[in-house]
Amino acid sequence: MTTPFLQAKNLSKSLTSNDKPLQILQTINLTFNAASTNAIVGASGSGKTTLLGLLAGLDLPSGGTIFFQGQDIGALSEDQRASLRAGKVSFIFQSFQLLQPLTAYENVLLSLEILNSSQAKEKTLSILERVGLSPRLDHYPNQLSGGEQQRCAIARAFVIEPILLFADEPTGNLDLKTGNTVIDLLFELNQERQTSLIIATHDTDLANRCDRIVTLSGGEVVSDEAVIGA
């Protein structure tokens, strides 16, 4: 029996709001395979982002366990989880989350600098060319359009050649046409690099491009289906 790539067992998460407990997720059991594309869909407030944060090790569950490559990430300290993420896990966010004081080039380069990666400059230039941002290397995020910022974020995410990429509503702040362009790019790169993709979205077209759709409602998995013809 092979070790699951990423697995959530009896996962739950609750928060305290106005001194009252709020159950965000309950009894989530999911397994993700390597090199797969997965969509987590659901209405606003269904717990998609919370589930993403837990699976990525950015937050700790209230109950249950998460295994990443066989390791219980809940048993690790914050720094150990960070170490686990370094070089293996990447993110793309709805609000892009580019560092404003850095240019497009520097935002992407930073990911490699953190890993002390060799040939960082060459890799950065290459990925930025791949995403079509070569003419905008020296531009700051506030000088880029939304689509360009998200392309820069995609370049930042893929430049470290992750094995797992989390995307939280990657087209949430983009118009339809720009969003489609960005999604095409995302899946092209994913195909090239065979990264596992987990996308939280309420965009059904985006979800249908994945191998699998997990539907959340009220903090629970209500369906988990393979996409036919994906």
Binding site: L58, D59, E78, D79, A82, R85, Q97, N142
Partner: protein, 831 residues
């Protein structure tokens, strides 16, 4: 151990943060902290180097034997045996007569060998060429400093009368090596040939003339000679070596350094607040960055290391720049204080940079690193959930802040009670100002509903951000308060103190009167229709022992005590307790106790020497030793300008000793003109015009005040930095508001008017509070220190309010203009 790769990353972060303007406010705050300390540091370094380098020049010799009596000729013979050069000089105060004017001068009678070290530079007026000179003026000639020519409105070639003889002024003294700074130049210098001294008839028994034998030569010969004379001291001799320096100069320097450092540290205290505010703003703006870095896999240790290296590198550059700024700023300070303590200051060495470095390091550790330490805790989940944050402030920061400030103060000033009081007083003043500012802002809130729309907007800005507004008011208020105290209030206190004196307060001292001249001088005054004054005797005595223990200057800390031991006491005697004196402890002597070996002391002197009633003091008075018992401690009112003495003895003890007589009197109208004739009749008499002395002291104090005001400029700069920090903190908010108002139809002019009102209020309140505080402080000082009533004055309040409002409104508008000029669409797009 931090890896090289992390260091490189840190430096890249530093460059990027700098480029983005994220570090500019922090840099400015830290820069001012370092610059204010190093400005004083470089100046005092120059003075200290001058005192070290000029130590021989400050004596004009390698070794000096000083006495109030003629120095034994054997000393001069001995110097030749030791292969040394010797020069004998005399110093005394007298008056010169020129064109019916009397002027007090400090006379130095020199011989052929003077000076043995340093340069005596002379010039002809109008010539920029100075010549180095050794030896005295030719007989019949004198050399003077420019100040004497200016005071009497005369030029070279004019004749003056000194004592019984007439002299011609032939040269100007440009540099006198052993003169010291302006603090030590109460009266202008006049140099004469020592051979002419006898012909002036100024040297009489009881005359107050100082004798000095200057010695110079090879170091080992000087040391041998010093050892020889110290083994065989003559009574009344004082030995001064280069190592001893000039204690009065060192004391003046240490006092100046202390007070200048206090002023600089007040700026640093405010600068610390500005640094802490800027550091808080910097860390809050990097919370998202840290969250992203943690999401990308960077550990907290590495994140803290990155910021630690970044901050240390940043601080290193700022410290160097701050030290450079301090070096440049000290030129102005040197110009203001030039020649006050010593002349010809050399360039400083680099040691003040260490002072700047330590200041920067303490600021870094105390104000910048604590929030950075908390910053590393920014949760990575923040990249997905913006409501997850981290506090970059902890209550422990307040303790760290106070501890760091205290460390800075104690390191620079020591931990004496004075330092603690000043620090506590300054912090107390800051807290009080902040509290008053907060209350004032709160009280303004209800006025919003009564005002027009621009005023309402301005007031709303002020009251809504009451904490930031109060901080700005406090910072500016402190700076303006000190400036008002140092300037306007100080002047008024001095004038007020002078004006409250009774109209018949003495305004002239007449000194150097011999016993056989008293009757004649009294008759002279009667002849001129002036009430004859009462004369008091004055005789010098050297303190030898206290309670059988030999008294040595090095055993006493206070310079006044050292001075009295080295330079003798002025003793006098009285039958009755003098007017204006009051017995504090003990009793006054009875008439039948005339001739008893008692002594009465001023309480300050008793305290300096740790004396109590019944202690025995042995004096050498004109070669004869007398042991006296302390019978009473007597309070003296020194502010009356009557002749008073620290030490008094009973009548019948010293009458047979050669004494000098002195009196003070009040002259009005054209009565002072008679003094010229008095000096003509009695050439040995000296006249001291008290108003001239007070004026001279005021001139010197004005220069010190100017130096303090210059340094206080740093506090105003800090106030501006605090204001800019507050503006930057609220920048996004202001931009949003302005964009919204624009969209709703408000003109830019209308918005600017509201902003103008906000800053006018901040500045006006700051200046008003400062004016009130300064005036109240003036009242307290007048009552407690100067002992007169000083009414609360509205002038500082008006001055402070107007100047504060105008200056701060101007700076505030400059700072916000760019923010308010951005088109609304750009603001909304980037929200």
């Amino acid at each position: 151990m931090i890896k090289l790769s992390l260091i490189k990353l840190s430096l890249r972060f530093l460059l990027r943060d700098w480029r983005a303007g994220e570090l500019s406010l922090l840099a400015m705050a830290l820069l001012i902290c370092v610059a204010s300390i190093t400005t004083v540091g470089f100046f005092t370094n120059r003075v200290e180097r001058a005192m070290q380098q000029q130590s021989s020049e400050l004596l004009a010799a390698d070794f000096v034997i000083a006495s109030t009596h003629k120095i034994d000729q054997q000393r001069i013979k001995a110097s030749r045996l030791f292969n040394l050069n010797a020069s004998y000089i005399n110093l005394f105060r007298s008056v010169v007569l020129v064109n019916d004017e009397v002027q007090l001068v400090e006379v130095k009678a020199i011989d052929e060998a003077y000076p043995l070290r340093g340069k005596l530079l002379l010039s002809d007026k109008g010539s920029s060429v100075t010549t180095e000179n050794t030896g005295p003026p030719p007989s019949g000639e004198v050399w003077v400093v420019p100040r004497l020519l200016d005071a009497l409105n005369i030029s070279l070639g004019v004749k003056l009368t000194l004592g019984a003889r007439e002299f011609t002024i032939t040269k100007i003294i440009e540099n006198e090596p052993d003169r010291g700074g302006d603090f030590f130049r109460m009266a202008p210098r006049l140099m004469m040939n020592r051979d002419d001294l006898a012909s002036t008839h100024l040297v009489m028994q009881g005359s107050r003339i100082n004798h000095r034998l200057l010695i110079a030569g090879e170091q080992q010969d000087v040391d041998a000679y010093m050892k020889h004379v110290k083994q065989h001291p003559n009574p009344g001799e004082q030995f001064i070596s280069v190592r001893d320096g000039r204690p009065e100069i060192r004391f003046a320097f240490e006092r100046a350094e202390f007070f200048l450092n206090i002023v600089a540290l007040i700026s640093v205290l405010l600068g610390s607040i500005a640094t802490a505010m800027a550091a808080q703003r910097y860390t809050r703006r990097h919370v998202d960055t840290v969250a992203i870095l943690r999401a990308q896999g960077l550990s907290q240790y590495k994140i803290f290391s990155i910021f630690l290296v970044e901050m240390f590198s940043f601080a290193f550059v700022v410290i160097l720049l701050g030290s450079l700024l301090g070096y440049l700023a000290q030129f102005a300070l040197t110009e203001i204080m030039s020649n006050l303590i010593v002349a010809d200051l050399p360039q400083p060495d680099l040691s003040p940079i260490f002072v700047g470095g330590m200041t920067g390091l303490i600021a870094l550790l105390g104000f910048i690193l604590p929030p950075i330490w908390l910053l590393k805790n920014a949760p990575p989940i923040r990249v997905l959930r913006r409501d997850e944050g981290v506090s970059v402030f902890s209550k422990s920061f307040v303790i760290i802040f106070i501890g760091s400030v205290f460390t800075l103060w104690v390191w620079r000033l020591g931990d004496s009670a004075v330092v603690q009081y000043v620090l506590a007083g300054t912090i107390g003043t800051l807290i009080s100002l902040y509290f008053i500012a907060k209350v004032t802002v709160y009280l303004l809130t209800p006025l919003r509903s009564l005002m027009g729309v621009s005023w309402r907007y301005g007031l709303a800005n002020l009251t809504r951000r009451s904490h930031l507004s109060s901080l700005q008011i406090t910072a500016f208020g402190l700076g303006i308060m000190f400036i008002l105290l140092n300037g306007e209030i100080r002047s008024e206190l001095l004038s007020g103190w002078r004006n409250t004196m009774p109209s018949d307060t003495p305004n002239y001292f007449v000194t150097n009167v011999q016993k056989d001249q008293i009757a004649g001088v009294k008759d002279f005054f009667i002849e001129k229709g002036i009430n004859p004054p009462v004369f008091a005797p004055m005789i010098r005595g050297r303190l030898l022992e206290i309670n059988g223990n030999v008294v040595k200057a090095e055993n006493y800390e206070h310079p006044q005590a050292k001075n009295l031991i080295l330079h003798e006491f002025n003793l006098s005697w009285r039958k009755q307790l003098p007017e204006g004196n009051k017995i504090i402890e003990g009793r006054w002597w009875q008439p039948e106790e005339a001739g008893s070996p008692y002594i009465s002391l001023d309480p300050v002197i008793a305290e300096r020497f740790s004396l109590k009633l019944g202690d025995k003091l042995k004096f050498n008075i004109a070669g004869s030793e007398k042991e006296l018992t302390l019978l009473n401690i007597r309070g003296v009112d020194w502010g009356t300008f009557r002749v008073n003495f620290f030490t008094l003895l009973p009548h019948g003890l010293l009458e047979d000793y050669p004494a000098n007589w002195v009196t003070s009197l009040h002259l009005q109208g054209d009565e002072p003109d008679h003094l010229v004739e008095l000096v003509r009749r009695y050439p040995s008499i000296s006249i001291i015009d008290i108003d001239v002395i007070i004026s001279r002291i005021r001139t010197l104090m004005d220069r010190v005040a100017a130096a303090i005001e210059y340094l206080l400029g740093f506090t105003l700069v800090i106030g501006v930095i605090i204001m800019l920090t507050a503006l930057k903190t609220t920048q996004d908010e202001r931009q949003q508001e302005a964009a919204l108002l624009h969209t709703l139809g408000a003109s830019r002019k209308w918005i600017l008017k509201g902003v103008l009102i906000e800053f006018l209020l901040i500045g006006g309140i700051a200046g008003g509070i400062a004016g009130i505080a300064a005036s109240v402080t003036g009242m307290v000082l007048a009552e407690q220190v100067f002992k007169f009533e000083y009414a609360f004055s509205l002038i500082p309040v008006i001055t402070g309010t107007l100047s504060g409002a105008i200056v701060i409104a101007f700076i505030g508008l400059l700072g916000t203009n760019k923010i308010l000029s951005q088109p609304p669409i750009d603001t909304f797009r980037h929200t």
